[in-house]
Structures are given as C-alpha cells and as structure tokens.
C-alpha cells in the first residue's frame, strides 16, 4: 500500500477478518486491527513524514499451530531509526499524540522493530489465540471453521 491514510480502513478490515477466521474473540479482532492501524500510522506520519508516495508492505501469516497465531510483518522504505529508540511514552503525561507504540505493545504478544535490509524498517508482531477462545468462537460462527491454514499473505512487489 502507499503511505496514505485512506488505505488504513482496508488494511484493518483484512486483518480483522483474518483474526476472526482464526477464532479470535470479536473485541480482540478489533484490537489487533488497531495495533496494525497504529503501526501504519506511525510509518505514514514519522517514517515517511506524511509523504503520500512511500511504499508499505503488509504481510500476514495465520499459523495453524496450537495455539493458533497471527503473525504480521510490516515493512517500509522510510528512514531508519534505532529500534532501541522506539519506545512508548509515559501515560501519566496526558497529552494528544504519542500513544501508538504503547497501544501496539499492549495489544500484541511480541513486537520487534529492526532495520530492513536495503533500507527502511521492519516491524514483526504476533498474537496467539487466548486459550479457550477457539471453541467459543466457533460455536457462534456459522459456516466458519474459525481457522485459516498457514500462508495467507498479502504482498506487493518490492522490486
């Protein structure tokens, strides 16, 4: 996708639907979508500094393991920053902005920022299905097995 906020809704919908098929509870589907949205917003606002022609690659794996896991990789060709400097701010400091990294880390189980070979950054984050949620979700989802086999991936040609 291009670094334009208008594409956020489509990215959220894709992630939310996949999380739902994996059996994540509805509220968690929304939160995982939020984490992805926040990560994309950070790239748009800070990585590409709101320039609309930057490229962002969103790759998603639905890992059919026990427990099932959603793994999301977001890559860009924006400016590189030291991963150690990507931190959430103190919540006691009540002011607009700066909540994105905190929200991502609160929602996802694992969050790793690193430099991408050839420039830009790579964010890898994952969320495992909480124990006991697959059965309850499947029982309320008609026509869905609540699982997606591995390899669901959306990529754009990076060449």
């Amino acid at each position: 996708m291009l670094s334009q906020p208008r594409f956020l809704a489509a990215a959220r919908a894709m992630i939310g639907n996949l999380a739902q098929r994996l059996g994540f509870p509805e509220i968690l589907c929304g939160q995982i979508s939020l984490a992805v949205d926040e990560a994309l917003c950070n790239i748009i606002n800070h990585g590409y500094e709101k320039k609309p022609d930057g490229h962002i690659w969103l790759s998603v794996w639905a890992l059919d393991q026990e427990p099932a896991q959603l793994r999301i990789v977001i890559e860009d060709r924006a400016k590189q920053v030291d991963p150690k400097l990507i931190r959430s701010r103190e919540l006691d400091d009540i002011r607009p902005g700066g909540l994105g990294v905190y929200i991502i880390k609160e929602i996802m189980d694992d969050v790793t920022y690193e430099h991408r070979e050839g420039g830009g950054m790579r964010l890898t984050m994952s969320k495992s299905l909480p124990s006991g949620t697959a059965e309850s979700s499947n029982s309320t989802t008609s026509g869905s097995r609540g699982r997606v086999s591995s390899g669901a991936k959306t990529v754009e040609d990076k060449s």
Partner: protein, 115 residues
C-alpha cells in the same frame, strides 16, 4: 478534502449544549475533518459539548488525540466536553490508553443533557 477523508458530523443545539454526532470510523484519514468540525462548534462557546459516539464503530489514537485536544480547548473556553454512547470496540482504546478517567464518559446523551 475528498469524501473518503471527511467524516459526517451531525450538529444539534439544545439550550447551551451542543451535541456532535460523528458517523463512521475516526482514523488518521478523518481525524482532521473531525477536528475542524469540533473547532467550528466551539466558536459558539457551548457550556456543554457532547460528543455522541453511537455512530462510530472504530477509532484509533488519531481520534483519541483529537478528542484530548478538543477537551482541553473546551475547558479553556469555560465549557466541558463529555463523551457518550461509546461502542465496545471504541471503548477498548480508551481502556488500553487508560483514558477512561481522563474524559467524562456517560452512557447516553440523555444522561449528559440532564446533568
């Protein structure tokens, strides 16, 4: 601003209260449109600015930042900003960011307008 980047916000006046009811997701693409419409509503210096979020199924931190900024602006003008009818998915971001106690949040518009 194109249609995809703007948000519909219904405005209603009830005495010295102004009720704003946005409709649709509030994310980075629409936060600016949302902000502009709140700023416009604040020019009449309402005693109570009620943001009815019943029609908002999703909000990210851009929307929350806008609300925080507008809460502070309302306070500076001598008024109070109150949120109502927050959907569960939207409430979730307020909880994650521990902002439920920073904002005044009531169940519905009637509760806010009665106070």
């Amino acid at each position: 601003m194109s249609k995809i980047d703007s948000i519909e916000v219904k405005l209603q006046k009830q005495g010295d209260a102004t009720v704003l009811s946005p409709v649709g997701d509030i994310d980075l693409s629409r936060a600016s449109s949302f902000r502009q419409q709140i700023v416009s509503a604040l020019t009449s210096k309402p005693r109570l600015l009620l943001i009815d979020l019943a029609g908002v199924p999703y909000m990210d931190s851009s929307g929350v930042a806008t609300l925080l900024e507008m809460m502070q602006a309302t306070k500076r003008g001598g008024g109070k900003l109150v949120l109502c009818s927050i959907q569960p998915k939207v409430r979730s971001i307020f909880e994650i960011a521990r902002l439920e106690t920073v904002f005044t949040i009531v169940a519905n518009a009637d509760d806010a307008l009665k106070s």
